[in-house]
Symmetry: C3
Subunit: 269 residues, 3 copies
């Protein structure tokens, strides 16, 4: 049996926090395969953590336990939960980290972690990732049923994501994320762009007019980077099936001076 626990945190790897969690996990389950998903979530950035988690978690083998510690509320009354979505398990603070996954894949069940016999014997007031979440993740990996960990909860905290306003030829959407390459990832499903392409009646390439505040750009709609020359702004369906803006061999976010949360209007020319 291969036990897998993934770790997503905003701890960075300069301090000892991640290593402390790994020690707790391996003490509980010495043969466990610990996967470093990311420790570079910006400090206390729940949205970034939630989107990152959403993009990898469901691709793991069944019964993988995903621990996510972006936890600005540690020490407050915020709940810690264990949840099951599809064939994956999650242990994380109840602060919206799971919202995108629940929206896209549904929620089987969730419990609040209250039964302290599954925790570290001494629980600090500032490091529940080590003292509660890591030990509970070990128990779940070992097969303990979620129901044993605490009472069911259904009123989970939700992230406030602005839903996309979509019309057939236009959309008003928020920038969800900017990745390391400067690609701008929009809160807009790829199906919107696919529909535009299917409705296309000429052989002329599609172009989108893009507006953010007082700034305007034009982006060519493409399938892959191969269709345009370096430096050109393009719109395409990204690897997570969201619409992205990119500059081939360049950094779209720097070029357009845009960041997470900016509102864009897209319109077919």
């Amino acid at each position: 049996m291969n036990h897998i626990i993934t770790l997503l945190t905003d701890f960075g790897t300069r301090d000892s926090y991640v290593a402390q969690m790994k020690g707790v996990i391996l003490r509980g389950l010495a043969g466990c395969h610990i996967v470093d998903a990311s420790h570079e979530i910006p400090p206390q950035d729940i949205l970034a953590g939630a989107l990152t988690l959403r993009d990898y978690a469901m691709g793991f083998p069944a019964n993988t336990v995903h621990v996510a510690v972006v936890d600005p509320g540690v020490g407050t009354q915020r709940r810690i939960i264990a949840a099951e979505v599809g064939d994956q398990k999650f242990v994380l603070p109840d602060n919206g980290l799971l919202t995108p996954i629940i929206d896209d894949f549904g929620l089987n069940r969730a419990v609040e972690l209250t039964h302290s016999q599954y925790w570290r014997s001494e629980v600090s007031s500032t490091f529940h990732g080590r003292d509660i979440m890591a030990p509970v993740a070990v128990q779940i990996a070992l097969g303990v049923d979620l129901e044993l960990l605490g009472p069911s909860v259904s009123d989970l905290q939700r992230l406030n994501l602005r839903p996309p306003e979509m019309a057939p030829r236009s959309a008003r959407v928020e920038i969800l994320a900017v990745d390391r390459f400067g690609n701008i990832i929009l809160n807009l499903p790829g199906s919107w762009l696919d529909a535009l392409k299917e409705g296309q009646t000429t052989v002329k390439p599609l172009r989108l007019a893009i507006q953010a505040g007082e700034s305007y750009w034009r982006a060519l709609v493409v399938e892959t980077y191969a269709q345009v020359i370096a430096g050109e702004l393009v719109a395409l369906v990204g690897s997570q099936r969201r619409v992205e803006l990119a500059v081939v061999n360049g950094n779209a976010a720097s070029m357009l001076h845009l960041t997470v949360g900016s509102l864009l209007t897209l319109e077919l020319e």
Copy 2:
């Protein structure tokens, strides 16, 4: 049998150094579980490496081998040692990296690595982490007794840590570390703050006056972040049982313009 080797370095992960060490370890012990503890120790910062190592190493399963390579003296006559503390094993340069662990947990025994039959056949003059420490860590994980690796040593190099000056209602201490969240970690045991709280005779919250050079602040003594509002400076016992200064949902070190090594005076108001 699960063999675990942890790696702490100042190599970063941009270069190939860490991966070269992993190759050597897996060539020696293909099923070994290699744990990346940290590779982001600031270059040649023995103090940061020593404190990080201290905070995670003792929490691993028995017989874990911890390799720590923060080694500004590579190529000089500095010794390389293997050591046993509690049920944990260590391989590292003899430059003070082990001082906080020895101070807190004692030293069972240490040997100088001199028996080159346990090393890589070709030893470079600049990368002993790969050529000496990694191969020896494999041997220790496989069960080779420390005594076979070289002669016992007892005069280990020590880090010069300024001991805290503690009175019942005041203390003069050094900043040991600043973590990624800007929390200021003091060379002051949590028991000092606990004693203050136990001696409390009113229901008024405790406050500390804090002085660094010509700067003064007040910090509220709390158990957890939940007790104050965002932006307030607090003093609390951290997850490693040291006194910390923190700003809830903020960065204390930036706000107070303080860094590692600064001297602080704390006094009960």
Copy 3:
């Protein structure tokens, strides 16, 4: 049987890309040992990726599969290949990433990945690391012969590395890399410096005159850092048997204002 797959990317670890690849690998081969070699290759820097890969890959156990994703051409017609060098396997875009390894260790064989039955069922146009390279790496780790993956290729893309111009007492060479410590790594084999030392007829220490554009320095030829005081510029044979310039306990690249690609002339004084 221990299956090992190493990952080298320019993805960073802030986004979900690395974790997505790990999910695909573990879905295909749950007990696989995934080694993070580096995810901090500068975005789209094929040279940096190629040199890093060269410096660690051949040190792994036989049949390790090395996946390298520095892939500015994703979505273009650039090929993806699987290759065998010595007892190691590689999966990577055909863009020069393998040039230094082939130059130093030869190429047994290479195939273009064309047989899509070994790929993810849905292949995006922008993330072939996840959709093609990771699944193929799993197949190779499981023992699938390279020939089954696609047709043989022999005309691989090559990196344009300026070959060193070497005379017995002088050399004109390029800076290949600058590591985290600021050490300047030259495209000059250590044997050149060794020959200088063997030809030495006096007991005086050797010195090199170094010129870059209009700037001049002198570097002492040493075996190890132990021979000089902190702050002095030295030339030595590095741990990968290339000539390096270093400043003991300092940062040579910052001090000399030099970067990758700069041309240097070295001459024995």
